[in-house]
Assembly symmetry: C2
Homo-oligomer: 186 residues x 2
DNA sequence: AAATCATTGTACCAAACGGTACAAGAATTA
DNA sequence: TAATTCTTGTACCGTTTGGTACAATGATTT
């Protein structure tokens, strides 16, 4: 028996599984089959079972967005951070081939289990984006409206891209949003 | 034993259950408990089981959107039909308390089962909206972009409203979109 | 009223579910 | 090397899953 994995190595694998199958659709047998880890290992790393696994995935996602998206929006040059956001988001979601797990969890009953993490994720995204827009010259009201429109637009573009099996519509939607932001901050 | 229900009476009940729990999260026991119908009745109306139930729900949704949203957008006065769309969509989704089942199905593996119906729903919505925008004076390119932005914006607003447990953000997002459309069609 | 058809509740099925127990092997420390 | 801790595979648990069979009752037709 080998000691190959650490908890941190498993989380990204779990993330991909939850993304594809959803919370209820992800069974322990699918997890063992796709991670190669038996139930022994799984319950050793995540004593709380499936719920703890999904929780760890959400925390991991949150940490990534915090450092790659939110913090730059709050601290760095506003226009540059916004421009970087479009690029990073397009990469992160693989041009729409990958979905937003937080958004997906929000849509069904799974939300009840993780409402705090789900709410936080979007509150902080909108807040960080609003901060950047304010610094870039938008009025408070305009910054709030535009920030909500941007985040909602990304989530909607993911739905559309998956529904139509079309990556181009995702990238195109981001470009449209980017243009709106540029028009409002010059 | 009574003969109360018809197939058509069950479909809206099923729709609400699938909306709340998702496809995988919806078990036959939850269905029997919330519809009051035993497995006997259920499999009598839907011999194909859960998949046929969800298929019937999607067909029902599609029919509603066709008559209430798409057809007016294609046939009636363009500006009026667009204005009516925002109102009808806000009502249909109960200000964001209700989600779009088609969008939710698109996000996870459930898409594989119903990809044709899911794709159709969004293609026809975008197409109808583009038609109205064109008739209202938009260029072909602008109409396409704006139609995609509108449908994506609605889907994203549903995600946000559910994630934040906030109805106002949904209604507010629709108003923002409506203003964009008005600015582009005058 | 007899016969037919539509509807329904109950009992049942094998398979899969999430989770637990635990002994045995690996890695680390003493 | 001995003791200890960290990992892992396997077997097992009770429950729930989607689905089937079928008899019994309701409504409808003849």
């Amino acid at each position: 028996m080998k000691t190959v994995y650490e908890r941190a190595d498993v989380v990204p694998l779990l993330a991909e599984i939850f993304r594809e199958l959803g919370y209820e659709g992800t069974s322990l047998s699918r997890i063992t089959e796709r991670t190669g880890l038996g139930k022994g290992s799984l319950y050793h790393f995540f004593p709380g079972g499936k719920e703890e696994m999904a929780g760890a995935v959400l925390a991991d996602i949150d940490a990534w967005f915090e450092q790659a998206i939110y913090r730059p929006l709050r601290q760095d040059d506003a226009r540059q951070a916004i421009a970087a956001m479009w690029v990073n988001v397009n990469d992160y979601f693989r041009s729409g081939r990958r979905i937003c797990l937080v958004g997906a969890f929000a849509l069904d009953d799974t939300r009840e289990r993780f409402s705090a993490a789900i709410g936080d994720y979007f509150i902080r995204w909108i807040g960080a984006l609003r901060s950047a827009l304010s610094r870039a010259g938008c009025s408070d009201e305009e910054a709030q409206t535009l920030a909500e429109e941007g985040v909602a637009g990304i989530q909607g573009a993911l739905v559309l891209a998956r529904a139509l099996g079309d990556e181009m519509i995702f990238t195109r939607s981001l470009e449209t949003l980017a243009k709106r932001f540029e028009a409002a901050t010059r």
